[in-house]
Amino acid sequence: MAVVEIKDLHKRFGSVNAVKGLSFEVEAGRVTGFLGPNGAGKSTTLRALLGLVRPSAGTATFGGRRYEELDRPSAHVGAVLEDAAFHPGRTARNHLRVLAATGEHPAGRVDEVLSIVGIADAADRRVKGYSMGMRQRLAIAAALLGDPQVLILDEPTNGLDPPGISWMRDLLRHQAASGRAVLVSSHLLAEVAQSVDDVVVISNGELRGRGTLDQVLGGDDGPATEVKVQDPERLASALEGRGHHVERTADGLLVLGATPEQVGGIAAEEQVVVLGLAPRARSLEAAFFALTGDGR
């Protein structure tokens, strides 16, 4: 059942069209990765969903209601935004006490979430002395205060060390396993690939793909072949003439959607001397870059 619904969402900042007709849903009990390169419109979309920016058109709702229409919203939705910020002179415990009072959550919940995120020992230290990773954990503690059924996390692994990233993955999986809907954005596919069930890929404010990780990025485009030849341009023209997508690499050509047998056959027809031929399964990252048009 969809607990988050984005429908034909548009957001324009002056002359910049940040989000262009985006639509997708997030299901309960699943981790949905919201992926795209920097500047793709991920944060704007999440902020529109959370009522922090006003959509130019379209809707972003939780069970049909906008965030600001929810009764005690932090009891329904927990959010960790990219620029999680705290008053530097306030302790972590006091920061959470303030949020607990605002959201009308039990005061005892503060100690519980401090323990969940593993910073209970540092709870009475001022936040200005916190590392980036500790701040991120505090932000997650704040999101969990109301024991919400929906978690929204914008680039939550930023600033985390490898053990922190691993902890974050476990946390996301655990939250989804307990029936919560988790929407997590990232521009680094590798950091979320192990923990997501579904992905929504956007680029330049537009939807580029959605579905399970396999459906969207899992090699539906078929195999890929790396080939090294004496006359790469001649072979590339021949391959492109037969409808294959060819990328020029430092070592030769990368032919997408073709097997080594197919590429070898075409090379033989064209009488091009082959120096090397090998299959290459497209990595998730390569598929992601191809989908988002991020030409790195």
Binding site: R47, R54, P73, A85, H87, G89, R90, R97, A101
Partner: protein, 243 residues
């Protein structure tokens, strides 16, 4: 609303800035009263009234109000604040009210302290003191001014997001611009939000021979300033995208 108010008052109490400024207001106000009562002979009842009126709580709560709201932008905590309380109008109203309450409490502490110390020193020296009724009269005026200036400070902080610019601008306005206007055009200056109208509420007798507004009118003028600043800050906050 009550949960929001509790949270805002908790916010106030959980930073060192608040404690420091409250202590500074208390110490400075006591210092002025102690030195004046010890070093000046033959203080009249009017002198004592003026002395007890001149506490520092109004100035400090004005600055605290600015810091409390503009600080949300400076520390980028406005996002988590709005996430927890997405009704922005209620949020601003509560913050405004909380600083009004804080201003009244701060002024109560400072005014009672300076009245007690000043009266003790005067009594010990066999000098003039003022009665309970006059003390109570000074007290409510101080409380009202501090409450309204605390609220005004929040609204200014909502209008000028840069905390430093807001504070410096307000200090320049309060200590240079408004007195200058009072000197050049007293009919305009006595309606000023940080000096003219507050002095009317405090029943300060005159400024360069020009009278301030009557206390009741001055109170309404201060409330009107808060209302206008609140409306402008609320309009800005309502339509602002938090990116």
């Amino acid at each position: 609303m009550s949960a929001l108010l509790r949270a805002e008052l908790l916010k106030l109490r959980t930073t060192r800035t608040f404690v420091t400024l409250v202590a500074a207001a208390l110490v400075l106000s006591l210092l002025v009263v102690v030195l004046t009562t010890l070093l000046t002979d033959d203080l009249s009842e009017d002198d004592l009234r003026s002395l007890f009126t001149a506490d520092f709580s109004s100035l400090f709560i004005l600055l605290l109000g600015v810091m409390g709201m503009a600080g949300e932008w400076r520390h980028r905590t406005i996002t988590s604040t709005v996430l927890a309380a997405p009704n922005r109008l209620a949020l601003l109203a509560t913050k405004t009210l909380s600083y009004a309450v804080a201003g009244a409490v701060l002024s109560l502490v400072v005014t009672v302290a300076i009245m007690a110390v000043g009266t003790l020193i005067q009594s010990a020296g066999g000098e003039t003191t003022i009665g309970i009724a006059d003390l109570a009269d000074v007290l409510w005026r101080n409380l009202a001014v501090a409450a309204l200036l605390g609220a005004f400070g929040v609204c200014i902080g909502g209008l000028v997001r840069n905390q430093v610019a807001a504070m410096i601008g307000l200090l320049v306005f309060a200590f240079a611009l408004e007195p200058a206007i009072m000197g050049v055009a007293p009919d305009v200056g006595r309606f000023g939000p940080t000096s003219g109208a507050p002095n009317g509420v405090l029943a300060v007798e005159s400024f360069g021979g020009e009278d301030f507004l009557a206390p009741g009118i001055a109170l309404l003028v201060m409330a009107a300033w808060v209302g206008v600043a609140f409306a402008a800050a609320a309009a800005l906050l309502q339509r602002r995208d938090l990116v």
